[in-house]
């Protein structure tokens, strides 16, 4: 009897589940919760540890920095800091904090908290530490009073301010109570938050979903009046087809990683908005300038002129823009350069000047296994090079294997397809990719070493006056293009799709390809 009772009840509940509506705007406790579908799991929410777009998206919602990037073109705006000054020699930076700033537990955000947070990252030497560790020592960050903090750099470093949006302030009182084994609170902060951001962490359900609850008392307020916004759930939806299905069915209100084809399909729906805008991310095919073949600049030029650049745009269904400089469009000081475009006459001319005037060689092209667009670009390159009697061997590799090969000039392939996203709009963030200090990193797989270029990069980053820096960066861009360490490709668009009731979406090219600023988003059915 009991068996039949349980069976009937189960059948009833299955029936209820079957008849449930496929989805609409979700409400919980009378408030709207937005479901954001993305493919990348959030490995942790500690602003002091290594980051990717998912981590950065979450930490930006949970924490505040002294300044914040916003807009297009991206600008550094005051946030926790209301204003700042720089000494004439560019060494001392002084920031005044907003006195009303509060952590989410009610504690005031003080200069001591800023000092603690910066020192924590520098001592951990993880995550964002690489941005400043060469120019800023932990002992040179000082609280002058409760709301004033001073940074003294070891040497002038013009891009300093442009990195600060990624340095978030933690509440020392909360972190210190959770320090174990001198870990600077790493273990605890991985799945807990101690910030002053617009959201608090409600649930960290690893591998499934991450819940951010809106803090209605956020010290800086919100750019909308609707108090019905309850929170945002970043839900993992790993397949693009599943993302599309989730958006169409209403199980997700916004999705971040649709393919160009998927975007086109959902964009035809009246209840869905799509956004496709150029990102700071560039795609290029890096050439190993220390390799057996590509060390010959004439061969590099020949390959660059043989490539059909329209392929870059075609494989993304038009959701890409060709680069017109070594710098992408949103980088400060970017100038238009006369870039190589397909010209077989020039390609043959350069090839004839190379060590292999008749071709007859085989180059290796490495791309990320499973990335169809990169495979298609390889096929286009293969076709182009055949006209020069050069064969192309296409090698798909997993990302860790690519990174491993890119770390060593002797192992790095002749050609490697790479997406690169700078974290700052300062031109140094891109120029440094062509400096020997980038060798060993995946975007340094060209292993370019050019004394003239090095000198210009090092000179420009020390100058505080933009009028002095700008012409140097114009020269740097020209020099990089002249040296042809890569087939300069395209700026891939950032593609998002969201229900029309999702309001407040603000695009900024500074964000990584699939990253969204959660702060201004809200729901208005």
């Amino acid at each position: 009897m009991k068996f039949w009772k349980i069976t009937s009840a189960l059948a009833l509940s299955l029936g209820v589940a079957l008849s449930a509506p496929a989805g609409a705007v979700e409400k919980r406790d009378g408030k709207f919760w937005m479901v954001l579908g993305g493919r990348q799991p959030v490995s942790h929410v500690d602003p002091g540890q290594a980051y990717d777009y998912a981590v950065r998206m979450m930490t930006q919602a949970l924490y505040d920095g002294l300044v914040k990037y916003s807009g297009d073109p991206p600008k550094v705006e005051p946030w926790l800091a209301t204003d700042w000054t720089t000494s004439d020699d560019g060494l001392v930076w002084t920031f005044n904090l907003a006195p009303e700033a509060r952590f989410n537990n009610g504690d005031p955000v003080t200069a001591d908290a800023v000092v603690y947070s910066y020192q924590r990252v520098l001592k951990l030497n993880e995550g964002a530490a690489w941005m400043l560790s060469d120019v800023l020592s932990a002992e040179n960050i000082k609280a002058l009073d409760e709301h004033t903090v001073e940074f003294t750099l070891d040497r002038p470093y013009a891009p300093f301010l442009s990195f600060l949006p990624w340095w978030f302030i933690v509440n020392p009182a909360e972190v210190e109570t959770h320090v174990t084994d001198e870990d600077y609170g790493k273990a605890w902060l991985s799945e807990n938050a101690a910030g002053s951001g617009p959201y608090t962490l409600e649930k960290f359900d690893q591998g499934t979903a991450y819940w951010l609850k809106r803090n209605p008392d956020y010290w800086k307020g919100f750019p909308y009046d609707d108090e019905k916004m309850g929170g945002v759930i970043y839900r993992l939806i790993r397949e693009t087809s599943s993302q599309r299905a989730a958006l169409l069915s209403g199980e997700a209100d916004m999705v971040t990683d649709l393919t160009p084809e998927e975007l086109e399909i959902v964009g035809q729906r009246p209840d869905i908005n799509v956004s496709s805008t150029p990102a700071l991310t560039s795609f290029g095919i890096k050439m190993n300038t220390q390799g057996q073949y590509m060390s010959d600049i004439n061969l590099r030029k020949a390959v660059a002129y043989a490539f059909d650049y329209e392929t870059f745009v075609q494989v993304y269904n038009g959701n890409a823009t060709l680069q017109t400089s070594a710098f992408t469009d949103a980088i400060k000081g970017k100038v238009d350069i006369d870039m190589p475009r397909k010209d077989m006459e020039k390609a043959r001319e350069y090839l004839s000047k190379s060590q292999w005037p008749d071709g007859g060689i085989t180059l290796e092209y490495v791309y990320v296994q499973g990335l169809e667009q990169q495979r298609q670009m390889g096929l286009a390159l293969l076709n182009s090079l055949r006209e020069l009697n050069i064969e192309l061997e296409m090698t798909p590799l997993t990302w860790p294997n690519m990174v491993a090969r890119a770390a060593d000039a002797g192992e790095s392939p002749d050609l490697m397809s790479i997406f690169t996203t700078p974290v700052s709009t300062d031109p140094d963030a891109v120029a440094v990719q062509y400096h020997p200090s980038s060798q060993g990193k995946y975007y340094g797989s060209h292993f370019l070493e050019d004394d003239e270029l090095i000198e210009m990069i090092e000179k420009a980053r020390k100058l505080s006056d933009w009028d002095e820096r700008a012409p140097i960066y114009a020269e740097i861009q020209q020099r990089i293009v002249d040296l042809q360490p890569e087939i300069f490709g395209m700026m891939r668009q950032r593609m998002f799709a969201y229900k029309t009731y999702v309001k407040g979406y603000e695009d900024s090219p500074i964000r990584m390809t699939s990253e969204v600023d959660i702060y201004p988003l809200y729901i208005q059915p």
């Binding site: 189960l10 589940a17 690893q206 599943s242 199980e251 491993a404 770390a407 975007y443």
Partner: protein, 336 residues
């Protein structure tokens, strides 16, 4: 029987050790620098080096293996370089999800596969046999991934009959963790609504996952039944006027089921390790996705732990099947 169990468990330890050696070697000679990946794309060389030293990647391979074995002996599966979380903590979350899915899939495969196999044998070369053989060939031929996508598209998106993915709805409360299997836990605490929702979430992924096993069970069971139905004792039973249902269900099936049982055991092991595609389509947060992410990230300790656990599960399942053989077949029992 006890001697057999002890002997097999002893062998299991040796095999697991062998598995650990192979996995450890493969994971470490494969290209890829886990320290660099953990440090992030922009990390400076000293940041990478710090992580390398912290995680012991700078030590000689035999030393690392020794340390790893010592760690395993204490029940410590290590820490994920990628998430910084203890691997055991992750596995405690993801493994029950996969076991739940696989059990449900096996249930579907057995409940449908055994009767279909019998039916196909009884109606050999007639319409039911042709239809069932078509189903079993489809099960072998259709890729799980594609089938999952089609089921999701039609039954979920078009007809709205099932949820798109996940283990529960976004806003559903998860019942108190007892086994980690949501449907079971919900039943144990008497939350029938949540149990129903969890089962609904499993229908599509379990169907996609069960298809190859269903096909295999049908084919094996059909072949065995055909052989058994032609044996003398069956002819004798028919001659004695015993009803066809009794002959098929009691006399024939009992003898034909043994190879099917072995097949179920093997499939269970394969399914545990082969759920990644289905988990990916349906966003079912199980061990397959966890292992795949770890493999992509060169995250060594989760890969090792998952391999060992799946290996142990595979061996245990086979031991259980052998014991069931002994219970069902007196000839096997007498040989032990």
């Amino acid at each position: 029987m006890q001697r057999l169990i002890l002997k097999r468990l002893g062998l299991m330890v040796v095999m697991l050790l062998g598995l650990a050696v192979i996995t450890f070697t493969v994971a470490n000679i494969a290209p890829g620098d886990p320290a660099r990946l953990a440090a992030g794309p922009d990390a400076s060389p000293d940041m990478v080096e710090k992580i390398r030293v912290e995680r012991g990647f700078d030590r000689a391979l035999p030393v690392r293996f020794g340390l790893y074995l010592g760690q395993l002996a204490q029940g410590d599966l290590g820490t994920s370089v990628y998430t910084g979380r203890p691997v055991a903590q992750d596995i405690a979350v993801f493994l029950p999800a996969t076991i739940e899915l696989v059990l449900f899939s096996i249930l579907i495969a057995v409940v449908l596969g055994v009767p279909f196999g019998v039916l196909a044998a009884v109606w050999q070369n007639h319409l039911p046999d042709h239809a069932i053989r078509f189903l079993s060939v489809s099960g072998v031929a259709l890729p799980m991934f594609w089938l999952g996508l089609m089921l999701q598209w039609y039954l979920s998106l078009e007809l709205g009959l099932f949820p798109l993915g996940g283990r529960l709805g976004t806003f559903d409360d998860v019942p108190t963790t007892i086994t980690g299997m949501i449907s079971i836990d919900a039943l144990l605490v008497g939350d029938l609504a949540t149990a129903g929702t969890a089962l609904m979430h499993m229908v599509l992924p379990a169907t996609a996952l069960s298809f190859p096993a269903l096909a295999a069970i049908i084919r094996v069971n059909r072949a065995e039944m055909l052989e058994v139905l032609g044996r003398d004792y069956v002819v004798n039973a028919r001659a004695q006027g015993i009803g066809p249902f009794r002959i098929i269900a009691i006399y024939a099936l009992k003898n034909a089921i043994l190879p099917t049982l072995a097949m179920i055991g093997l499939r269970f092991g394969w399914m545990l390790g082969g759920t990644v595609l289905v988990e990916s389509v349906f966003d079912f947060p199980g061990i397959g996705l966890y292992a795949a992410k770890a493999a992509i990230s060169s995250d060594f300790e989760p890969i090792m732990a998952v391999t060992l656990i799946l290996g142990a599960a595979f061996m245990l399942t086979n031991l259980l099947i052998d014991l069931m053989y002994a219970l069902l077949d007196p000839r096997v029992r007498n040989q032990i």
